[in-house]
Structures are given as structure tokens and as C-alpha cells.
């Protein structure tokens, strides 16, 4: 019997600051490798896809494999536009925070394909079904859903600036949006809590016999939260139309995915234990992400139950404006990420197929920049967290209950409002 020394095993990333980025643990599967099972498949028939990786877009810009969603050039260009817009907008938010005009900032740099592809795929499947009840339960890193679903960039910026145009009246940190008409649930600052709510939403849809779909979102780090479990258990038991999206961007603030248990089994594999259909997808491949979401959405709408999707991607930026990643990972790590950059990859594909030339891309980028800058300028004119009119203090009391109870009236009056 081989006795190992007894030690507390604390997983460590392959490279720390000063060392060479090392992504050798990541198996980059070939674009034509993953099977595309029927949407009516039993959950266990998808389990090989939990350890594989759905990829469509090859490094050279060509596409291949069973998962090609067959999008038109127009659709692909729309995806590109949304990703670029998201990136530029979040860059502006970042600057606003640096200038002291926003309390906080957080970006999805390098993982824009995730939210944009998912939002577009759900939306495309929606007409005639959703009855306005499809709902994303996002984290702070899925602003791309709002961009893709056509939310006003101006309104998004007002929220970030906590100015008088903020429709949340200063209640929430920047980027914790709530936009019901875009199928975007109010983002909790508490990690994990919303997954089971998405399941509950989907259960409600089933109770009302509606073909809606709910999409839970979590980072890989927050899969460690217990709410991940209740979401999986309830999804397994009641088989509602929910898609549980795990965005594995390799980092949770300073801790790498191994601290969430990612080194022993891919997060997608968590689904197997619950008898839930499971996909693992190249998160920087817009087309693969679109196809995976489309598959899960179709499956859900057809009444075949929940799917867990792991999106393998990389958090290229710092965690947030309060974070400095050079303290815990090699400074140039993002550049070595084997799955590349989602915007570059889709661009290369469009160039390769001739759907666009460089001038088209430049024009598109400039259009995005103009739209973003106009929205930001307009919002800034309304004020920032430090300047301009604030929401009235009375707003603080207004939304605690539907009707303000006597003690809150008293407290508000005591404050002079």
C-alpha cells in the first residue's frame, strides 16, 4: 500500500507573478470533435460533452464541426458589433471610475462572446414562445446581454454614474443593472443567490404551462456557493426550462479555478451527478457559444428540461476597479490564453470568409465608438456620483415596501423629507 504523506492539499495555479503563464492544463479540443446530440437526448447521452469542448471557429478563421449554428453574415456581424460595443462601453465605465465619477467598475474584457452569444441565441428562439417571460439572471459580468438585447447605452451609463438618470435611484453599485424589458433580472451583489431563482422562475413557467426559458449565470468561483447546489437539485427534480451557465474565466478575484474544485473535474461535469444535460463550450468562440445556447434553449422549449453549460474563457482584465491582478498571476497571462480573444476570432473568420474586409471592420468599430461615446457624454451631462443632482433622499424609503409603512414615513420625515 503506497502511503502518501498526509498534508493539507491546497491547489496552486501553474504560474504566479514573475513566472511564465502556463495553460498546459487546458486541453484545447479540435473544432470538429464534439458530437451534436439530438435535443431530445436523455441527459446521460450528453455526458461525453462535459469533458469535451464544443468549438466551431478554428484559429485560422475557418469553421467546422457539427455545432456550426449556420448563422448568416448579417447575424455574425451583429454579434461582432455587440461584442465591440460591450468592450468599448465597459472601457468608458472604467475610465469614469478612474476619474472618480463612478463608485466602481467591472469589465467582461476577453469574455464578451459569452453574454452576447447567449443573449442572441435565446432571443432568436423567442418569438411566439417567450411571451415576455424569458429571463436572464446575470452576474455583473454579463452586461453584454443588455447590449445585445438593445438596452439604452445612455441608461446603462446613468446607472454606472449613480446620477439622477439612474433608474435604480442610487440603490445599486455600478453595473448591477435591472432591466426587465430586456429580460435582465436585477443583479444581486451576493454571489450565487440567483441560480435557484432562475430555477424558480422556470418552475413558475412550467406551472403556467408556458414555453419560456430562464438562464442562470454564475462565475466558476461562485459555483462553490451552496446556491449552486439548490439550483441543481431543484432543476434535477422538477426538470424546468432552465439553463445554468457557468462562466469559467479561470479566476475568482485572486483565486484560480482550482480553489473552486476545477482541477479535479471540469465544472460541466457537476451536471452529471444530477442527471442534467451538460455542455462544455469554448467561451471565446462566438459561434460555438451561440450553438450551445440554441441547443439548450430549443431543448428547454420543447419540454426536455434543464441544461448546464460551462463556458471556458479567460478574465483578461482585473477582477474590478478594486483589484490588481499582477499581485497573484503573471502580468501577461491573458495574451497567452490558448483560446484567444473572442472579438479577434470572429473578426478573423469574417475576413477569411470574405464577409467583411478590414475597412468594414474599422467602420463598424468606429460606429460603435461613436454610439458609445455619445451615450456616455449625454449621461455625464446629467451628473456623476460626485456632481450634479442626486436622487432625492426620499427615494431611499420609497421602494422598501409597496406601500410605505408608518415607521418608514416617520424616519423619512425625521430626515426632513
Amino acid at each position: 500500500m503506497a502511503q502518501k504523506d498526509i498534508r493539507l492539499h491546497v491547489p496552486e495555479p501553474a504560474a504566479r507573478p514573475g513566472e511564465h503563464p502556463d495553460f498546459s492544463f487546458l486541453d484545447v479540443h479540435a473544432v470538429d470533435e464534439a458530437r451534436h446530440p439530438d435535443i431530445e437526448s436523455r441527459a446521460y447521452e450528453t455526458y461525453d460533452l462535459a469533458t469535451s469542448m464544443i468549438r466551431v471557429l478554428d484559429d485560422d478563421g475557418t469553421i467546422d464541426g457539427q455545432w456550426d449554428p449556420g448563422l448568416s453574415d448579417t447575424q455574425k456581424l451583429r454579434g461582432l458589433r455587440h461584442m465591440i460595443t460591450t468592450r468599448l462601453l465597459e472601457e468608458q465605465f472604467w475610465l469614469l471610475q478612474r476619474q472618480g465619477k463612478a463608485a466602481f467598475a467591472i469589465r467582461s474584457l476577453g469574455e464578451e462572446a459569452v453574454a452576447v452569444a447567449a443573449a442572441m441565441a435565446v432571443d432568436a428562439s423567442s418569438p411566439g414562445y417567450g411571451e415576455g417571460l424569458d429571463m436572464h439572471f446575470p452576474t455583473y459580468r454579463q452586461g453584454g446581454i443588455l447590449v445585445a438585447n438593445g438596452h439604452s447605452l445612455f441608461e446603462m451609463t446613468c446607472q454606472v454614474l449613480s446620477n439622477s438618470g439612474d433608474r435604480l435611484k442610487g440603490a445599486q453599485l455600478p453595473t448591477l443593472h435591472s432591466v426587465k424589458e430586456c429580460g435582465f433580472f436585477t443583479v444581486s451583489g451576493n454571489l450565487g443567490t440567483q441560480m435557484i431563482q432562475a430555477v424558480g422562475w422556470a418552475m413558475a413557467g412550467a406551472i403556467e404551462e408556458k414555453r419560456i426559458v430562464a438562464l442562470a449565470w454564475t462565475g466558476e468561483g461562485a459555483t462553490a456557493e451552496n446556491d449552486f447546489h439548490s439550483a441543481m437539485v431543484f432543476a434535477s427534480v422538477y426538470q424546468p426550462s432552465v439553463i445554468i451557465n457557468v462562466v469559467n474565466n479561470q479566476w475568482a478575484i485572486s483565486s484560480f479555478q482550482g480553489i473552486a474544485g476545477g482541477m479535479n473535474a471540469p465544472f460541466a461535469q457537476r451536471g452529471i451527478g444530477f442527471g442534467i444535460a451538460t455542455l462544455r463550450v469554448d467561451g471565446n468562440d462566438f459561434l460555438a457559444g451561440y450553438a450551445a445556447t440554441a441547443w439548450a434553449t430549443e431543448r428547454a422549449r420543447a419540454g426536455h428540461g434543464p441544461t448546464l453549460i460551462e463556458w471556458v474563457t479567460y478574465r483578461a482584465a482585473s477582477h474590478s476597479s478594486s483589484d490588481d491582478p499582477s499581485k497573484y498571476r503573471p502580468a501577461d497571462a491573458a495574451a497567452s490564453w490558448p483560446l484567444g480573444d473572442p472579438i479577434e476570432r470572429l473578426t478573423r473568420h469574417l475576413l477569411t470568409t470574405g464577409a467583411a474586409d478590414q475597412a468594414d471592420i474599422d467602420t463598424l468599430t468606429e460606429e460603435c465608438r461613436t454610439v458609445v461615446n455619445e451615450a456616455v457624454d449625454k449621461a455625464e451631462k446629467l451628473g456623476t456620483i460626485n456632481s450634479g443632482p442626486k436622487p432625492s433622499p426620499a427615494e431611499m424609503f420609497k421602494y422598501v415596501y409597496a406601500e410605505m409603512p408608518p415607521h418608514l414615513v416617520e424616519q423619512r420625515q425625521d430626515l426632513g423629507y
Binding site: 435591472s178 451576493n190 443567490t193 420609497k398 421602494y399 409603512p405
Partner: protein, 335 residues
């Protein structure tokens, strides 16, 4: 005539019949009808999709209810014992209570979470707790606790209709009959109590309104749940002319009724079964003191559970029975 269990079941049935959006679920609460049988028959009457069993996951129960409520349903979730609500506390505090405020009214959580509270059934430390203060501290929640079948039905209906999340506490020792604290005397059924006379069909008792169960001039006793009956017994056995207020809703609190009474009596005893420190009695004491300072002739006194777990072997030492209430009233009358 109805027990409190029947009254609660009746409220659920009335509301499920009136409103398709009302659904009921919890551990053992579907097919079997709940370990206290409060949801018995609902599955047969309304179908599996309106009344169902859940996994043993209080966090999941509340979290799913939040999602359903935000969607537009009116979920009524049962937590088997209040002692088991802690795994769901995050979903209550961080989510149900905050959806409305953090979305400026865009998403709301009109749900009811029912849970049996209190001791006196030989349940020991994990079937006897009274965690109301953990809810009253949380902005965005309402907290309700009936003391009899008539109120239980009316308050539960009002809670289901309420647009905000309501914590509905059911004093389990009252399920089958009023209980005055004398555990050694024969049990009295609700059928021999006027408040067991539950009206049929729909009616509601508005949230936020206390009721005076005994008029008196000597001292005001603030009570709720099981302790209302204990206070009544204390008044009866001691002959002290106490005014007993059954708060019924802890939040929003009916301060008007309280203040009117204490200003009149000049004396106040606050009673509850929960542990003393930071119990809801502290809030009551603070408010009475703030609002009636000039009228107080003696210190406001708290009669509460001790700051210990509720031991099964010493249950009746722990329980704040009529003797302790009498002693407190006497102390401040003689002050």
C-alpha cells in the same frame, strides 16, 4: 369550529381557489400535507403543480419561491420548523427582502413563508425556536404571528394578498388548542374557545393592526403568539387588571394601539418566548420608552426565554409561564 391547523389550511384553500397564481410547497407539504397537516388535501384539490413536495433544502425552497414570485406567482412556502429556516435566511434577507428596493420596484417578491415557531411540544432545541427578531431587523420584510384560528386564517389571507414578502409564524403549541402555560393541566381544544369559530370563505385581517384581547387599566402587556394566552392566564389568576395587546403583526408594528394603552396604564410588560438579548422585546421596550417616556411609572419589564438553547429536558423551566408574567406585573405595580 376549527383548529388553527384547519384555519390555515382553509386560508390556503380559499386563496388557491380564488387565485391561480397561489401555489403551496415545502418539505412533506405536498402528497402528505405537511408534518402538522396544514396543507393536507391541497394537492388532491388543486393538483400536483399547485401543491407539491420539495427537496429538503430550505435555501432552495425560499430561493425558488423568490424566482416564482418575481415571475408573477404568489408562492406560499412552508419551512417545516422555524429552527430550520437558517439555510434559507440568505435568500430571505439578501433576496426576497431586497428585490424591490434594489430594482426600484421593477422586480418584487410577493411571497409568504410559513413556519411553526415556539416550544412546549417536547421538541428540544431544534423544534422550539422563535426567531422573529431575526426577521424584524430586516428592512423589506413583514412579520406576522397569529394567536388563534380566526386571526390565523384572516392574517394568512392578507399575507398572501400582500405585495411584499411576509414571514408568517405559526405558534405550534397553539395548533390544536389555546395554551395558557399550564402544561400539567388537560389540553383545551379550540372548539371550546370563541376564536375557534372561524368564518367560512374569504375574509382578511389586515396586517399592521394589533388587537386588545383584554381591556385593563393597571398595566399593559405586549404579547404575541402563544404568550397572549399565557398573559391572559396571568391576568386571570392574579386578578391584576392588565390590558393585553396581541400584536399580531410585529412589522409593521401597530404603535398607535401600544402607545395609547401604555400612556393610560403607565406600566408595561413585554413577553416573548424567544431568547432575551436582542429579542423583539428589546425593540418593543425601546419604542415604548421613546414614545411614552413621560407616562411611565415603572420600568418596562421583559419576560422572555433565557439566553440559552431550549432544552427538551427542562422545557418548562425555559418556557415563560404565567407565574413569571405575574411576578413581573407585580414587580412593576409595586414599583
Amino acid at each position: 369550529m376549527a383548529t388553527m391547523i384547519e384555519a390555515i389550511r382553509d386560508a390556503l384553500a380559499v386563496m388557491m381557489a380564488r387565485d391561480d397564481r397561489v401555489v403551496s410547497f415545502g418539505e412533506d407539504a405536498g402528497y402528505f400535507g405537511g408534518v402538522f397537516r396544514c396543507t393536507e388535501g391541497l394537492q388532491q384539490q388543486f393538483g400536483m403543480h399547485r401543491s407539491f413536495d420539495t427537496p429538503i433544502s430550505e435555501s432552495g425552497i425560499v430561493g425558488a419561491a423568490v424566482g416564482m414570485a418575481a415571475y408573477g406567482l404568489r408562492p406560499v412556502a412552508e419551512i417545516q420548523f422555524a429552527d430550520y429556516m437558517y439555510p434559507g435566511y440568505d435568500q430571505i434577507v439578501s433576496e426576497a427582502a431586497r428585490l424591490r428596493s434594489r430594482s426600484a420596484g421593477e422586480f418584487t417578491a410577493p411571497l409568504v413563508i410559513r413556519m411553526p415557531v415556539g416550544g412546549g411540544i417536547r421538541g428540544g432545541q431544534t423544534h422550539s425556536q422563535s426567531p422573529e427578531a431575526l426577521f424584524t431587523h430586516v428592512a423589506g420584510l413583514k412579520t406576522v404571528i397569529p394567536s388563534n384560528p380566526v386571526d390565523a386564517k384572516g392574517l394568512l389571507i392578507a399575507s398572501i394578498e400582500d405585495p411584499d414578502p411576509v414571514i408568517f409564524l405559526e405558534p405550534k403549541r397553539l395548533y390544536n388548542g389555546p395554551f395558557d402555560g399550564h402544561h400539567d393541566r388537560p389540553v383545551r381544544p379550540w372548539s371550546r374557545h370563541p376564536l375557534g369559530e372561524v368564518p367560512e370563505g374569504y375574509y382578511s385581517v389586515p396586517l399592521g393592526q394589533a388587537t386588545v384581547t383584554r381591556r385593563g387599566e393597571a398595566v399593559t402587556v405586549l404579547a404575541y403568539g402563544t404568550l397572549v394566552h399565557v398573559a391572559e392566564e396571568a391576568a386571570a389568576s392574579s386578578g391584576i387588571d392588565a390590558e393585553i395587546i396581541d400584536l399580531r403583526t410585529l412589522l409593521p408594528l401597530d404603535t398607535a394601539t401600544i402607545v395609547e394603552s401604555v400612556k393610560r396604564t403607565g406600566r408595561c410588560v413585554v413577553v416573548h418566548e424567544a431568547t432575551r438579548t436582542s429579542g423583539f422585546g428589546a425593540e418593543l421596550s425601546a419604542q415604548v420608552q421613546e414614545r411614552c417616556f413621560d407616562h411611565l411609572e415603572a420600568p418596562i419589564t421583559r419576560v422572555t426565554g433565557f439566553d440559552t438553547p431550549y432544552p427538551v429536558g427542562l422545557e418548562w423551566v425555559y418556557f415563560p409561564g404565567p407565574d413569571r408574567v405575574v411576578r413581573a406585573m407585580k414587580d412593576i405595580l409595586e414599583y
